[in-house]
Amino acid sequence: MTVDTKIEEMLIEAIFEVFEKMFYLSLEPLNADHKGCDIAAIIGLDGSVRGEDDIAVTINFDGSVRGEGQISLSGGLTEMMAQNMLSLDACEITEKDIEDCSKEAANMIWGNFLRKFNADEAFNLSIPIFRRSPGAIPCQGPDLQNPMFRLNFVSNGECLEVIMTMSDRNR
């Protein structure tokens, strides 16, 4: 197993834990096996998130390694997350709820990932940055134009894309 594979496994595990524990949603990794199925036709396999209600949240981390991560979520997924986390009906969800839950998701994913990466180190996490319609807005940092890790998931017909880059502090 390569280092990159191990890091990817830790990131996937961190994502699953956050969605299961805080949003009560199970995610399914989107991979080549999905080609030709309905969900892949709907959302695509190459970048996945394109709707007007889609959002992106970017976060930076710094320590012995530093990097940047971004989650892109389809509008329907953000609504499900907010409903489940806050126990609210769809009509009760506000824009602020969606922003708050999405930022919290990014914060928890990378906090959880960094604990798995090195439990002995206290990394610094930035305040997450929330943006609407990520399809129309370039990624926040230059490093995320060519991320080291790109993971796609589906849940109840909605999609999530997670991208991350990280490098040694001294490079």
Partner: protein
């Protein structure tokens, strides 16, 4: 016995989740205050007594570690038990918050049962959130 609880987190959603767990766990809560950061928490404490504080670490203005430090230095507040609920769950950070006087530590993401269990330990009530104690008190068993 009922409790005044202060929830400190810059995320409205996380404060809502924590409050929901507290109420669903059956804790007899008199008042549940909220603050978006450590500065707002200190403002709440200046006006009202709280029995337990549940706080995040990573917050703007005055973060959770700074809040713990300020509480420890104040003779009025230093005995108030603080439970830290945070994404920053490294061993180094846990040691730091316990050295600053925190009584409990919960890593996000968490299952509601984890928060309930730690709160029961810190507040010193049973796993029923104090329900049995209250029932006995109502019967006059105390």
């Amino acid at each position: 016995m009922s409790f005044n609880i202060l929830v400190v987190d810059d995320s409205n959603s996380m404060r809502a989740v924590i409050k929901k767990v507290i109420f669903l766990s059956g804790f007899k809560v008199d008042r549940c205050f909220e603050a978006g950061n450590g500065r707002e928490a200190l403002a709440v404490l200046a006006d009202d007594w709280v029995d337990v504080i549940i706080s995040d670490i990573n917050m703007p203005e005055v973060n959770g570690l700074e809040l713990l430090n300020k509480l420890r230095q104040d003779i009025l507040y230093k005995e108030i038990p603080v439970v830290i609920v945070t994404t920053e769950g490294s061993n180094e950070r846990m040691e730091e918050v316990f050295n600053l006087g925190a009584k409990g530590f919960i890593k996000k993401p968490f299952f509601p049962e984890e928060l309930r269990r730690v709160l029961c330990q810190v507040i010193g009530v049973g796993d029923d959130g104090g329900y049995e104690d209250r029932r006995n008190a109502d019967r006059g068993d105390f």
